[in-house]
């Protein structure tokens, strides 16, 4: 893809995006641009939701991060699980955590991130581990390495 950036001294600023296929990257760019305009008040929806783009059966779909139950990294591929679907998303768990910058998402092990707002119940386990039951019924173990940070997060001490 060619990138043509021009600095202008007069006239209106304009961004033209030309694409053949609406790829997740293009969608992300559009989303960023739309976010920018709403921040400046050009769109009447300042509270526009952040969307997460991913692939499901070779189809590009978009979900609200709030709908995610958890994310799992398997063989350097990142999968996001909602109650009824699994999306393959670009990037890594670290980049997801940095991009989201939302304390609802908690790194509970080396390969998993859970959405704390979608946890149904917690169970204290031996060796200071915690069993989190998600709204979908899945059991995710918060390893003892991350358990104390999780306890602090719940108490608002993070």
């Amino acid at each position: 893809m060619k990138i043509d950036i021009q600095k202008i001294s007069e006239g209106d600023e304009k961004i033209i995006l030309r694409y053949r296929i609406l790829t997740p990257q293009i969608k992300k760019i559009i989303e960023i641009l739309e976010g920018e305009t709403s921040d400046f008040g050009n769109k009447a929806d300042p509270g526009v939701d952040v969307k997460l783009w991913g692939k499901m059966d070779s189809e590009v779909v978009c979900v609200n991060p709030r709908d995610l139950l958890y994310l799992e990294s398997v063989d350097d591929k990142l999968f996001a699980y909602t109650g009824d679907s699994v999306l393959k998303i670009d990037g890594s768990l670290n980049s997801f955590m940095t991009d989201m910058n939302d304390e609802s998402f908690f790194r509970c092990s080396k390969s998993m991130v859970i959405n704390v707002n979608r946890v149904k119940a917690l169970k204290s386990m031996s060796s200071n581990r915690i069993d989190a039951t998600m709204e979908g019924g899945e059991h995710i173990i918060i390893s003892r390495r991350y358990a104390s940070a999780f306890r602090r997060l719940l108490k608002g001490e993070r």
């Binding site: 704390v116 946890v119 390495r145």
Partner: protein, 155 residues
């Protein structure tokens, strides 16, 4: 960038070591009680320093075995076959050391009683840890609900 929020390997190791220290002290005092009762029933009001030293060393060594090899059975989530096997192995080791060290003057009956007492102690400790976790469950779920309520408000 290093994540300062998660525990380091050193901290994890230290947590385990403290756990073993705690276990050694707990079981030492529990078994010392049995030993003192035996001595008192025999009209002796002094405890042997050698026996006490052997007892604390045994508790330490068996504590390591318990944590690293025998599935840390007293802190297990449920009492299954391997946990019971762990209890029996540790009990047998304690009784063998007590017999060899003549803690109970090689009295078979008292040694059998000691084995029963050790097993009873292990089972009690298992249930104590279990109820501790049950209380912890309640706290965790209360904190979770509070966290979720606060987040729903701020959204």
């Amino acid at each position: 960038m290093k994540d300062k929020k998660k525990l380091t390997l050193w901290e994890l190791y230290l947590t385990k070591e403290i756990g073993i220290e705690f276990k050694a002290c707990l079981y030492f005092f529990a078994f010392l009680f049995y030993y003192c009762c035996y001595k008192m029933f025999n009209g002796i009001f002094d405890a042997s320093i050698i026996h006490m030293t052997e007892l604390i060393f045994t508790c330490y060594i068996i504590g390591y075995l318990q944590v690293y090899l025998l599935w840390n059975f007293d802190e297990a989530d449920s009492l299954g076959a391997k946990e019971i096997a762990g209890m029996v192995i540790c009990t047998a080791l304690h009784v063998i050391v007590s017999y060899v060290g003549s803690w109970f003057d090689k009295n078979i009956g008292v040694s059998i009683g000691f084995a029963a007492y050790i097993l009873f102690t292990y089972i009690c400790v298992f249930f104590i840890y279990k109820s501790k976790r049950r209380i912890d469950d309640k706290k965790l779920n209360e904190d979770l609900k509070l966290f979720q309520t606060q987040h729903k408000k701020s959204e």
